[in-house]
């Protein structure tokens, strides 16, 4: 397979072939609702309408996208927020009838010239957090949705029986059909529906179908992800990418949606009808060349994908091992990227959308499944990506084959590898301390490294096992913390400190103990602890480039805004800084990758015909970012309390952790806390830990103070009406709601800075109600 230039038809995966009676499956469908629409032309990146589907009433309609909506919300995730604001209530929860599931595209989504331009942005009220969770995902669905005629699809209500929603861009029809006989698990249902709905029985036709689904794990947990398919004409399988975080797949299954299918007619490189296709191709070709020349010396994405990070994180003590207790591990080289490289199929374009030459989406073909319902079958496993491998490090699983097994079942069961791995790691630590045991875990021996128990847990969850632990544990760390504390099974503080969740969502896979800015990058966020808003560890910890609170706050303003922008446009973040121009280090602000920022300014202008600059670009994000935070407040969250993070992410929770990095922590007691060497020598480990505990928690509050101030929020983290108006919003319902909340905070004494400031230190502003003077 490695010699290359093999004709597309001649590739073989060695996967088990399925024999389905697809005619029988299709003929069992019954049409529930149907809607015909006039196919329109996309104008400069916008289809200029969104699709609304109500599964309870069967209503299907189009909503117009206005110029005002574009101006305020840009597109993508911004449109999602706007649609949800118009549709849901402040009391809406994940399983409410009126909860929206929104999949949006963005003006740049579907261009083929610039790598990473096929992303969909998914939004819904999350079962894990009770607020809106947004997820960025690859696959063909987003571009196809737009080419079929819609900037977004918004789904409200619940179907009575399992249905598929078909967006037929070929015929101009939206159809809701019952789907009783299809499989539920994604690797199967995606393949079945791809074959059923392809216009002709060939790979070219199958490539024009994209399916969104979630498996049985999504039905029975809060970790459900959405699997977005992209048909691979060489491997002849629909591969998939995940909208992983926050349980959006759980919402999909709660609505009784088995799948959403998008189908397109012919499309080409200018289907977005860009204002300046020549410029687009010019900028795109430039970055393709950069990737060609430099990727192998930088991230090696084309060879191993994001897995290259495992060895880097391990080296810098940032790879989460045994529930984030450690940042490296003696066995970790067993799961370094070269180990997975041996499994990957090579020399195939691996982008999750056409034209992505960064090509990070790797697969292992012909993988023989070792456990569960598909034991013995040979399948294609998509990945593993860094997060999945590191989640396994967290569970102390060091065998690449079991990483692949975990990866495969998480995907097909439709559950997030990050949340699942992080949660299992927490349960394993509780098991080690005896807070959990075999009996309390309903027969599972959840000790670190027990990969079979992890898979067994997943299989039982997918089978709707009613045992108490399975039921609660599949709802995530927050629910288990409450359960353990209620049962009185352990020290509540230890339980709170060890379980890596914030806002109810599990952490993604980086150790943040030594980077205060990154602690903020996880905690001071909209949806919860996900590194998609900022990744500041090297800037902060390794290069010490943002030493003051003000510097960190500036970084926690700029980078979340910058990274939000990708989601407004339907783009992937990776081609921004996972490839850098050869001279990037010599620029003024290498962390921002200025040349690539300019690329993005150029391509947004080239598609939309707007005339924005890099400042306007940040402003686009700031509008949506503040709007989302304001919606969090509206839903009863979005305050300092909600931005709190577990101590495991700030420092050593246990003596073992302290002692494993004793030199580092002792040094900090002297250098940062101002203790003398003698004082430190006289302290026992418990005392040292307590000093560090108080210090680091206060540091986090001071960081929050600085960040809220920089973002124009109150000391309790509420976006001020003044800020919202400054950003160009006039919505009186929103503005009044924020003012009311701020007034309530004032009465409760919450409009004060959170840090304890000594004489030499200053809070961000002497007047904590600083915004009132604006």
């Amino acid at each position: 397979m490695t010699e290359g230039q093999i004709a597309v038809e001649e590739y073989k995966t060695g996967n088990t072939k399925h024999k389905w009676d697809l005619k029988k499956i299709k003929s069992a469908h019954r049409v529930v609702a149907e809607y015909s629409y006039k196919k329109g032309k996309i104008e400069r990146g916008f289809a200029n309408r969104t699709l609304y589907v109500n599964l309870s009433t069967g209503q299907i309609k189009e909503k117009k996208v206005t110029e005002d909506m574009k101006k305020k919300f840009t597109g993508g995730r911004g449109f999602g927020l706007k649609l949800m604001w118009d549709s849901i209530k402040h009391s809406t929860r994940w399983d409410s009838e009126e909860n929206d599931l929104v999949i949006t595209t963005g003006p740049l989504c579907g261009i083929t010239q610039y790598p990473g331009s096929g992303k969909s942005l998914c939004l819904s009220v999350s079962p894990a957090t009770d607020i809106i969770c947004d997820c960025n995902v690859g696959g063909f669905f987003g571009p196809y949705l737009k080419f079929a005629g819609f900037d977004a699809i918004e789904i409200q209500g619940k179907a009575k029986h399992d249905v598929v929603i078909i967006i037929d861009g070929e015929k101009g029809k939206i159809i809701i059909e019952t789907a009783p006989l299809e499989e539920t698990n994604s690797h199967l249902v995606n393949e079945q529906l791809t074959h059923i709905y392809a216009s002709e029985d060939n790979d070219k036709s199958r490539q024009k179908i994209s399916v969104v689904s979630a498996g049985k794990g999504a039905e029975n947990s809060y970790w459900g992800c959405l699997n977005f398919s992209f048909y691979d004409i060489r491997r002849k399988v629909p591969r998939m990418k995940q909208a992983g975080r926050g349980g959006l797949g759980t919402v999909l299954r709660d609505k009784n949606i088995k799948a959403i299918v998008a189908k397109v007619d012919n499309f080409d490189g200018v289907s977005n009808n860009p204002a300046d296709p020549v410029k687009l191709a010019e900028v795109g070709t430039k970055i393709h060349r950069e990737i060609r020349d430099l990727d192998r010396y930088q991230c090696n994405m084309r060879a191993v994908g994001t897995g290259h990070l495992v060895e880097i994180m391990d080296e810098y003590d940032l790879l989460p091992c045994e529930n984030y207790r450690f940042g490296s591990f003696p066995k970790s080289s067993k799961i370094y990227s070269p180990k997975f490289y041996e499994f990957f199929t090579k020399i195939i374009p691996d982008g999750c959308w056409h034209g992505c030459t960064m090509a990070c989406a790797k697969t292992v073909d012909g993988f023989e499944v070792m456990t569960g319902p598909y034991k013995g079958q040979k399948v294609t496993v998509d990945g593993p990506e860094y997060e999945t491998i590191a989640a396994c490090a967290n569970m102390s699983i060091w065998d690449p084959k079991w990483v692949l097994e975990f990866n495969f079942y998480c995907d097909t069961y439709g559950i997030d590898t990050i949340s699942t791995g992080t949660a299992m790691a927490f349960y394993m630590e509780m098991y080690e301390y005896g807070i959990l045991n075999k009996k309390r875990c309903n027969g599972l021996e959840l000790s670190f490294g027990n990969h079979e128990a992890v898979l067994e847990f997943m299989h039982r969850m997918a089978k709707k096992d009613k045992a108490e632990f399975i039921q609660i544990a599949s709802k995530g760390i927050r629910r288990v913390k409450d359960w353990l504390i209620k049962k009185g099974w352990g020290d509540p503080q230890l339980i709170e400190d060890c379980g890596m969740e914030s806002k109810g969502l599990e952490y993604s896979e980086y150790v943040t103990k030594e980077s205060l800015a990154m602690q903020g990058g996880y905690g001071l966020t909209l949806k919860g602890p996900q590194h998609d808003e900022a990744w500041l560890i090297f800037m902060d910890m390794v290069n010490n480039a943002i030493p003051t609170f003000q510097d960190k706050a500036e970084a926690l303003h700029y980078f979340p805004m910058w990274r939000t922008w990708f989601g407004l446009n339907g783009l992937c973040k990776l081609p921004w800084n996972d490839i850098e121009p050869a001279n990037n280090a010599e620029t003024d602000e290498p962390a921002k990758v200025p040349e690539h920022v300019q690329n993005y300014v150029d391509i947004q202008n080239a598609v939309t015909g707007w005339n924005i600059d890099k400042e306007e670009l940040i402003l686009q994000s700031e509008r949506c970012y503040n709007w989302q935070r304001a919606m969090n407040v509206w839903m009863g969250r979005g305050t300092r309390k909600d931005d709190w993070i577990p101590y495991r992410s700030m420092g050593p929770v246990t003596e073992m952790e302290y002692l494993s990095r004793k030199e580092r922590y002792d040094k900090q007691l002297i250098e940062k806390l101002g203790l003398t060497k003698k004082q430190v020598e006289q302290m026992n480990t418990r005392e040292k830990m307590k000093s560090l505990y108080d210090y680091r928690r206060d540091q986090y509050h001071k960081l929050a103070d600085a960040v809220y101030y920089r973002r124009g929020w109150t000391p309790n983290g509420i976006p001020t009406p003044q800020k919202i108006k400054k950003l160009g919003f006039q919505d009186s319902k929103m503005i009044q709601m924020l003012q009311k909340k701020i007034d309530e905070d004032q009465k409760k004494g919450l409009n004060v800075w959170g840090g304890k400031y000594s004489k030499n230190e200053k809070p961000p502003s002497i007047n904590p109600n600083y915004w009132e003077k604006w």
């Binding site: 490695t2 290359g4 004709a7 083929t112 060609r292 192998r296 060879a303 490289y341």
Partner: protein, 150 residues
Amino acid sequence: MEKANTVKILKFYPEKCDGGKACERACSQVHFKSDEGGEKSAIRIIKDGNSFKMHVCDQRGLCIDMCPVGALSRRKNGVVWLDKNTCIGCQACVGFCPIGAMRKSKARIEPFKCISCGACVRACPNGALELVEVKIDEIKDVVYHKQGAE
């Protein structure tokens, strides 16, 4: 499918070239029905001191594995062929061609390349171009995929 072992590629005799660029005009006629040559020609003749250089695809085929939609393939005659109707204009092949011979004209989004048709050979009044047969195995090139820098 029967596989080609050989392919015809262009050979250039600089000593016979007078820089008249009849080849480019003939080529743009093939690809764009235009006599402009230049950016619409897959073959380019470039001044090189007192002499001339030819710049054109050598049919090594590295681009074949780059195409996400299978628009690039090696035909029965060994020529690397871009199917314009399948192409979705991503420019991955343009960006990854190691010699810059996959070209893009402003006239359309899909790239174009030399198809060894011989129009330029026939157009040259001085016989400076010739199609010669070479073994594919000897010229074949594969996109890099090795882990780590080569």
